[in-house]
Symmetry: C2
Subunit: 156 residues, 2 copies
């Protein structure tokens, strides 16, 4: 009676999503780790390129990275010379974080890495299916970014 390949419970979307996400997360993390990076690094660098120089609070709101995690993330990136942290002359509470040329090169590298990972992740899907998946996920993400406050973008 017991089906060795599929039980009832593992067909639940939440199970599928969390498990797939776990795989995706692992693949992405492994890809980043292979170049001594973490997800936060990419997210911060990408957001930084999108916004230009900005304060930590602004970056946190835009990237969805918690303020308290921003500190460590920026520390790491700054230690590696990928971003620069300078006091804002117009507001002494703020630091202005900016992307260095090395940081930009780093970002390009991480993007390439990520593209590779995605091919790996989406290997079993046809181009059409990949487009479908992207659309569906985008719809979900948009919805939840709207309702739940933590919107990564479009909240400037």
């Amino acid at each position: 009676m017991e089906n060795p390949s599929l039980g009832g419970w593992q067909a639940l979307p939440s199970w599928l999503l969390t498990q797939t996400a776990a795989h995706a997360h692992r693949l992405v993390a492994e890809g980043f780790a292979a170049v001594q990076a973490r997800g936060y690094h990419y997210r911060l660098l990408a957001t930084l390129e999108e916004l230009g120089p900005a304060s930590q609070a602004t970056l946190g709101r835009s990237s969805g990275i918690h303020l308290s995690d921003m500190v460590a993330t920026i520390n790491e990136l700054a230690d590696a010379g990928l971003v620069e942290r300078a006091p804002d002359p117009t507001d002494r509470r703020r630091n202005v974080i900016s992307l260095t040329p090395a940081g930009k090169r780093r970002l390009r590298r991480l993007e390439k890495r990520l593209a590779t990972t995605q091919d790996e992740l989406l290997a079993p899907l046809s181009p059409e299916e990949r487009r479908q998946l992207t659309d569906l996920l985008a719809k979900l993400l948009d919805h939840h970014n709207r309702s739940a406050g933590g919107s990564p973008i479009s909240r400037g």
Copy 2:
């Protein structure tokens, strides 16, 4: 040069997937936390119902929960009277974990909770879209469970 609007990086499947997964993870975790549970609890109880009484190692292999995390998870569930841990008379290395009636009721409750969470998660999608998403994710999950060794299921 720069991508002023929201063109580039946040359309990447990996970004969409990890972000969506983050939302899914949060929703699921919140749903479970509302009844003092964690994802591991559900996964273990569900696996236990699927397999029947089994050793911790077997449960770990089938549920994808790391052996070292199994200990704490079973401790918690056993403290709550949801599972029973008894020494295996035929192999003194092993414990036989079994589901109590209370554990079964608990599982039913968590399943209901999960169903609610899924409605919340998939709210913006039509039934047809939900089916599409489920199919795509199942395909991805199956692929990666096959290739990557750490398959949560179908490894008996």
